[in-house]
């Protein structure tokens, strides 16, 4: 199991079971299903006894998600490689435009110390760290005290340099 951190770098317990598309739905557990499974089995999943989170491909348009999806307690975004930053924009749109209030989890090979701070700034609230990531460095990367005030207002702070200068 990879380590799960919250937005402040505190380890949290992962209560969700990531379900393969062909795996049977367990009776009570909280699960993460793919977007395609969610769409195919909406009726069943809507009445599932446990929480149902949905993993979105980083190619999906988050602006067309329906109310049932936006009502999920958690959405999972994919950061597949070091250089593929599409989910950063998905996160911004989910928070800023869709007003999604739930948990936003980052998964994938790029969930590493050197990317965590920018993910947090875009509204990611929990991180499924890649296996090889040292906890201390990841926690340091997420520490708000260690990070100077950024130029851009984003999700992790209400104020940015522009506002601070305006006084």
């Amino acid at each position: 199991m990879s380590l799960l951190l919250d937005a402040l770098g505190q380890p949290i317990r992962d209560l969700y079971l990531a379900l393969a598309d062909d795996a049977e739905l367990p009776p009570v557990a909280a699960v993460i299903v793919s977007l395609s499974r969610w769409q195919a089995q909406a009726d069943v999943l809507a009445v599932h006894a446990g929480a149902v989170a949905v993993q979105l491909p980083n190619t999906s348009d988050v602006l067309v998600l329906d109310a049932a999806l936006l009502a999920r307690p958690m959405l999972v975004l994919d950061f597949p490689g070091f250089a593929d930053g599409r989910a950063y924009s998905q996160a911004r749109r989910l928070r800023d435009r869709a007003g999604y209030p739930g948990r936003l989890r980052a998964t994938g090979a790029a969930v590493v110390a050197d990317q965590l701070a920018m993910m947090a700034r875009c509204g990611i609230s929990e991180f499924a760290l890649r296996e090889d990531q040292p906890l201390a460095i990841c926690q340091a990367a997420l520490s708000l005290e260690a990070r100077p005030l950024p130029y851009q207002a984003a999700q992790d702070r209400s104020a940015a340099v522009f506002d601070a200068r305006r006084g």
Binding site: D84, R86, I137, P148, Y151, A160, R165, R166
Partner: protein, 558 residues
């Protein structure tokens, strides 16, 4: 010029500490090499043919004497004693050691400089007219807007991992001196009928493998919306841009494949939702940035100087330099002086540490302690008193920085090519030198007049060959160096891409070929005032082709 406050300084300092940590983890083997590569690129560090290369940002080309002294120090302490000014107003060092780079960045931070986002697939250094603030044809100084954009783009949380690199250029004058139409976003600062400042936004231009002239995505954008509109463009591009093929990943391809109308629709839809958010600029924000770029305290008395005219009359070498390397200033009694980095025997854009120190002293003495880097790889003192021009020139002659060739044939734009770059097919610097020899006579060059010769060692086009009036591109043919020639390119107002003359020519024929092209022009031009570009636009390719191929055909295999 812009000065850091505590916020700017804290960000740059934190970045140095972060990169120091990343470098240490890489050297200790705990940060994978491929991931370090992405991180070091975003801190300006490339690994080239022979050694690492560090590219340092000079935002919109403006540099203080103090900063230049620091660059001299870096050249001396960490490199082989020189630096290379690039076509994007940055400076590169070709021989730093990876383990020294955190220290270099720490040194730079002490003079309000950095290498953040000077490479990698992110928003790069913002460029602008090198005559910003002093050009006679300027509407407003573009630099406050550039600095606003620089700050918005710096460590932008969402746009650090774009499909491909992303470049902004700004212009606010009748003549476009910053090649805005061949940038990912070109911003033209304009005034509307009501007298308000705003922007014409151009998107999807670019050089490289598939050169494209940008298209206007919005004819009028209000002044306060610069950053929100830019953010909308970047967000749409980040989500839509291709990631399956590096040669199709630039926004120019996204716009082409999507179609401008559809792309614009997406941008406008995105923009509508964010335009009234925190990115909306307030009048006071803009005024604050403008306060850094006010004009210097000019002395009115210098206009009555007569010594300049006397020196011009007495010293023909000085007069030749004045004719070529000076431009008219807005302020009577002041001039804009170009320092040519295109002397014979040096790679275009190269400056030694001794020259840097000396230039810094001259800038302090004669140009309010500031200077500019141009995208043609020269330097400029923007505010020199007329009475100081003669001693300045004398000092520049001693430094070999007074070649009177600004805008002439030997004022070539040239990438580092074979000599440094691992991607190069052919030597660009050596060819530049051969052309220098061929056209050594300055009288001859003056007779030829304004002409832009641009050279790149490979398709990536760092030497902007496709927008050279004459462009030369190095190509590899079975391990041999060949060159493809284009004519009629321009990055100025009506930007155009050069047309290929025909088959490429071999190394031993390239200088001949350029000479033939120039002779043909001299024979064809309507009069001495018709520039090479104008002449080419009038007569077209056929006469050049006819003249060129009897000579070059001997060297062409198939």
């Amino acid at each position: 010029m812009y000065r850091y406050d505590q916020f700017d300084q804290a960000l740059v300092n934190a970045r140095v500490a972060q990169f120091r940590d990343q470098t240490a983890r890489y050297l200790a083997g705990t940060l994978p090499a491929d991931e370090f590569r992405h991180l070091r690129l975003r801190n300006g560090l490339y690994v080239q043919r022979f050694a690492p290369m560090l590219r340092i940002a000079i935002p919109y080309g403006t540099l203080s004497a103090k900063q230049l002294r620091m660059l001299a120090h870096i050249a001396r302490k960490y490199d082989k004693g020189y630096g290379h000014f690039t076509t994007r107003q940055n400076i590169q060092f070709n021989w730093p050691k990876i383990e020294d780079v955190p220290d270099i960045l720490a040194d730079l931070a002490t003079v309000e400089m950095h290498a953040i986002q000077t490479s990698g697939n992110c928003i790069r250094n913002v460029t602008a007219d090198h005559l910003a603030g002093v050009a006679r044809d300027e509407l407003v100084d573009p630099r406050p807007y550039c600095e606003l954009t620089r700050q918005w783009a710096t460590e932008h949380p969402e746009f650090n991992w774009l499909p491909r690199k992303f470049k902004f250029a700004f212009s606010s004058s009748t003549t476009d001196r910053s090649a805005t139409q061949v940038h990912d976003i070109g911003v033209h600062i304009i005034k509307n009928a009501a007298g308000e400042i705003g922007y014409e936004m151009v998107v999807g231009g670019g050089l490289g493998r598939t050169p494209v002239i940008g298209q206007v995505i919005r004819e009028w954008l209000p002044e306060e919306d610069l950053l929100s509109y830019s953010e909308a463009i970047l967000r749409v591009y980040n989500l839509l841009g291709r990631r399956d093929n590096i040669y199709k990943a630039r926004i120019k391809i996204t716009v082409k494949e999507t179609g401008l109308a559809k792309f614009k629709e997406m941008v406008e839809a995105e923009w509508a939702t964010i335009k009234d958010g925190p990115l909306k600029l307030k009048r006071a924000d803009i005024a604050r940035f403008q306060s850094f770029f006010t004009s210097f305290d000019y002395e009115a008395s210098t206009a009555s100087d007569t010594s300049y005219a006397e020196h011009l009359a007495k010293d023909s070498a000085f007069a030749a330099w004045a004719k070529r390397n000076l431009k008219a200033h807005r302020q009577p009694g002041y001039a804009i002086a170009f320092l040519s980095l295109k002397a014979r025997g040096i790679a275009p854009g190269d400056v030694t540490h001794q020259q840097m120190d000396a230039i810094a002293d001259l800038a302090d003495r004669y140009s309010f302690g500031e200077l500019r880097a141009t995208h043609n790889q020269n330097l400029v003192f923007t505010d020199v008193r007329q009475a100081d021009l003669y001693p300045l020139w004398q000092a520049l002659v001693k430094l070999d920085l007074a070649t009177p060739n600004i805008g002439l044939l030997t004022d070539v734009i040239c990438c580092p090519g074979l000599d440094f770059c691992s991607l190069s097919n052919a030597s660009s610097i050596a060819v530049a030198e051969e052309i220098f020899d061929r056209f050594e006579s300055l009288d001859y060059q003056h007779d030829i007049g304004e002409i832009k010769l641009n050279m790149s060692g490979c398709m990536n086009g760092c030497g902007h060959h496709s927008v050279g009036h004459i462009g030369i591109l190095g190509v590899d043919k079975k391990g041999e160096e060949w060159y493809q020639i284009t004519l009629g390119g321009s990055s100025e107002n009506k930007a155009s891409l050069g047309d290929r003359t025909g088959p490429s020519v071999g190394r031993e024929h390239i200088a001949d070929a350029i000479q033939t092209i120039v002779h043909t022009y001299l024979e064809l031009r309507a009069n001495e005032d018709e520039s090479f570009l104008a002449c080419y636009q009038r007569v077209g390719m056929p006469p050049f082709k006819a003249a060129l191929y009897p000579v070059a055909a001997a060297g062409e295999a198939a």
